[in-house]
């Protein structure tokens, strides 16, 4: 509590040094000439207040520049600030997103969209949290709860949508941090006049890594010449490179994305003898064209996504020394190919219908254990396979001045996990110009991925081919108030999960993928943002009633927090200088203590150059999370460094 009190004092102090409500900016704005207006960037969070209050879903939209100003400088950091989200590093590498306590180690329950295009690994359902150059991002939109009707499979816990920018200014950025972490990023654009526009961005990070402590890790289930410790440190680094290009001409869009990342952890049997590096490789090619007619918009799209992992690890018993879990042909067969068409038809000024059909083929190559020394295949973890999923959806949107109704459904036919129809019904009552109340019901559908069905690593992880698709049925009631300066959202949720796909630890036999018993959860989320004369405040609170509870039917509840709190503040000293801070609190989960993390940031502009000083984890909290990969409650897994410093410079040109 001493940290909370400290934060309160900081916020109160800032409020006493000149923060007053901006009562009327019009005098100043109206006095500006149009050439001066053209230079002003508006704030996205409040640019469409009517949209947020009238959107029949629980949506958060975060502006990348504001998040940077409060000291959150990566996509992962920013997502951790979303109400109801908990992010932590997984023990084998990568980062796991938990939404309302719902999670899976590789993020199978979260749908990741790059400008509306789903992007995920067909074998394990990993998502590219390190794959989008930070300079390419304009904003991040998040839907909490199922979003299956429009977006399809994987959207059971929520949807993360990265919206890329089309700015007038080019950007070059480099930062230096502890442990020789160097991060550099670029964004550039070229206006080709009648031939369209190209936006290009890239980012790379090198990192020596920090000392990451595991507590109560497992022991290998096979004899070794020595007994490895269960508590100890490993080196944890995060290195990646990413590239993104978008070409747009009227309604035509071509997108190219490629990335590679390496993070370190422990894999296989989850012991400190099995140090590993999670290598992810992915690229995405997307083509779409939109025709805007008088009262309709038609979009035809097709995308190709190659995405796979390699997992070199120490001391594998079959090889006897070091081995690599990898896909044959360097992952060339690990693809998703999706095509479809959608039509947005305006029936009248009050009604529209959004419909579409999609077909998607997913395929994987042989997943093997390969000797690190000879390159010989030692064993097959699963064989090449493919599946096709076809779906059709339609959603009617009808509104009057006071009401908005949304009724829709998606029919999905997956040749492995069967047929499902997932409906969505929303009613929104506009109370006045600023506020609304929403009642929403939606279902999410999630087919098991290849790994969950096929993998067999004896005494480590075992899949089951007869896994059924999981469904989450969610009901939300929300009150939203927005005006030009403030946003307030309060919502309660209740969801049931059927055939929930999860790893279940089996004593002496590693973990098995299973369909869990049906369970339910409920909770409360609050979100408040306000614009002050010289500051902007962001805050949110989420309560998950079943968090940190032992429950035979819901083994994952113990690993969800009861409470998340996030508070962020930007204080503008002048137009060229600002301070920011972001505080987050996550309550106890399983064996892990509550976590309180404070980041501070200082930025100063000199014409087109911006310098920043960022101190992360100011309280030097030891970042230990419970093991949400295998749900071993005594294992505490490291996630992020202690207090660390970053110095950065950005050039706009």
């Amino acid at each position: 509590m001493v940290y909370l009190r400290s934060l309160a004092v900081v916020i109160l102090s800032l409020s006493l040094v000149g923060i007053t409500l901006a009562d009327d900016d019009f005098e100043t704005l109206f006095g500006l000439d149009i050439s001066e207006l053209a230079k002003i960037e508006y704030t996205v969070a409040s640019s469409k207040p009517e949209t947020l209050s009238l959107t029949p879903a629980i949506v958060s939209r975060l502006n990348i520049d504001e998040m940077r100003a409060i000291g959150l400088r990566s996509l992962k950091d920013i997502l951790g600030f979303v109400p109801g989200f908990t992010l932590q590093d997984a023990k084998l590498g990568g980062t796991t997103v938990m939404i309302r306590g719902v999670t899976e180690a590789f993020n199978q329950k979260v749908l990741f969209l790059l400008d509306d295009v789903p992007y995920w690994m067909p074998s394990h359902a990993a998502i590219p949290l390190l794959g989008i150059p930070i300079t390419a991002i304009d904003s991040i939109e998040v839907i909490r709860g199922p979003g299956a009707v429009i977006y399809g499979t994987n959207a059971t816990a929520g949807v993360i949508k990265v919206v890329t920018k089309q700015n007038d200014q080019n950007i070059g950025r480099i930062s230096f941090g502890d442990h020789n972490r160097v991060n550099s990023a670029l964004y550039g654009h070229k206006d080709l006049s009648e031939y369209g526009r190209i936006d290009i961005s890239a980012q790379t990070q090198v990192d020596d890594g920090y000392r990451a402590q595991h507590i109560n890790a497992g022991l290998p289930p096979y004899p070794m010449s020595y007994t490895p410790p269960t508590t100890g440190h490993i080196n944890r680094s995060e290195e990646f490179s990413s590239f993104l290009m978008n070409y747009r001409l009227d309604g035509f869009h071509l997108g190219l994305q490629r990335y590679h990342s390496e993070t370190q952890g422990i894999a296989g049997f989850g012991s400190l003898a099995n140090l590993s590096t999670l290598e992810e490789h992915g690229y995405l090619v997307t083509l779409d064209n939109t025709w805007k007619l008088n009262r309709a918009s038609i979009k035809v799209f097709s995308d190709f996504n190659n995405y796979y992992l390699n997992l070199p690890l120490d001391n594998h018993p079959i090889e006897g020394s070091n081995a690599v879990f990898s896909f044959d042909d360097n992952g060339k067969n690990n693809n998703r190919i999706r095509s479809g068409v959608s039509v947005d038809l305006e029936l009248s000024d009050q009604a529209s219908v959004f419909s579409g059909v999609e077909t998607e083929k997913r395929q994987v190559g042989d997943y093997q254990i390969v000797s690190a020394s000879t390159g010989n295949v030692m064993a097959n973890l699963f064989s090449q396979d493919d599946t096709r999923e076809n779906s059709i959806f339609s959603q009617l949107d009808w509104h009057t001045d006071e009401w908005r109704f949304l009724v829709g459904a998606r029919y999905t036919d997956n040749d492995k996990s069967g047929k499902q129809t997932t409906p969505r019904i929303s009613a929104l009552r506009r109370l006045d110009e600023n506020s609304s109340i929403k009642l929403m019901y939606s279902e999410g559908f999630n087919s098991p991925n290849f790994s969950q069905q096929l993998v067999f690593i004896n005494k480590a992880i075992v899949g089951h081919e007869d896994l059924k698709a999981e469904t989450i049925k969610s009901t939300d009631i929300a009150y939203t108030y927005t005006n030009s300066k403030s946003l307030f959202v309060a919502n309660v949720y209740y969801f049931t999960a059927d055939d929930f796909i999860t790893r279940v630890p089996i004593p002496g036999d590693g973990s098995h993928f299973m369909n869990a018993d049906s369970f339910y959860r409920y909770g409360l989320e609050l979100d408040f943002q306000t614009q002050l004369r010289q500051a902007k405040l962001f805050s949110n609170f989420s309560y998950h009633h079943q968090g940190n509870e032992l429950d035979d039917e819901d083994i994952t509840a113990l690993f969800a927090p009861n409470v998340n709190i996030n508070i962020g503040l930007i204080y503008y000293v002048t137009g060229d200088e600002r301070y920011g801070g972001a505080f987050s609190y996550t309550s106890q989960r399983a064996s892990s203590n509550p976590l309180k993390v404070l980041n501070l940031n200082y930025e100063r502009d000199f014409h087109d150059v911006t310098f920043n000083v960022t101190i992360r984890n100011v309280f030097d909290e030891q970042m230990l999370h419970p093991d949400i990969q295998d749900y071993r409650s005594i294992h505490q897994v490291p996630s992020k460094d202690g207090r660390n410093l970053e110095l950065g410079v950005e050039l706009k040109f």
């Binding site: 207006l37 409040s46 920018k165 007038d168 009648e194 064996s591 230990l624």
Partner: protein, 204 residues
Amino acid sequence: MNISQQTKQPTSNLVSKVTRGSGTYVLSIVLALSSLASNIGYCGETEIRDVDATKLKLAYLVNFARYTAWPEDMFDQPDSPIVIGISQYHPYAQQLDNKIAGHSRADRQIIFKMVEKLDSHSDIHLFYDKPPRLHEMLASDWNHHVLTVGDEHDFIEKGGIIQLVEVGQKIRFYINREKAESIGLKIHFKILEMAMEWPGRSSA
């Protein structure tokens, strides 16, 4: 499975803080606080930051009014004001109703007026609203000599004159110059030269 095997561990003694050299952090905090202290009390009135798009668009309307010339018969008196009509449903309508927003190049006052019924405001020179009222207005003959401004993606195609667009967190606009001139409006080159090119039409 046997959940009871998963026991909660007492953790208060499990975590030992990592101790590090802290000189760099202390220096950074001191520098930051020094800078903060030197600026305490500053309350920049002229800085425009974190303005929302809705407000920014209103400032554009004022500039469009400032740099547009209407036929003289659109004014009752030589000193009659230029009236910007905005819907009663606009979030700032109450605040701006009858507000003087500045002066035009011909030294006419520019004032905002909240519009409740379209046909009762024949004195409006610039009208900004959203569908369906804007469509209703474009379809009527009431809009003779009125500079219409909207932010629908196909506003110009539907007969509007200036279409506001949001590009990279900035406001930009298209102009249907031919339409403006066809109803006797003369838009100053300063506005025209800042407009984006509208495919198939002359904008500047």
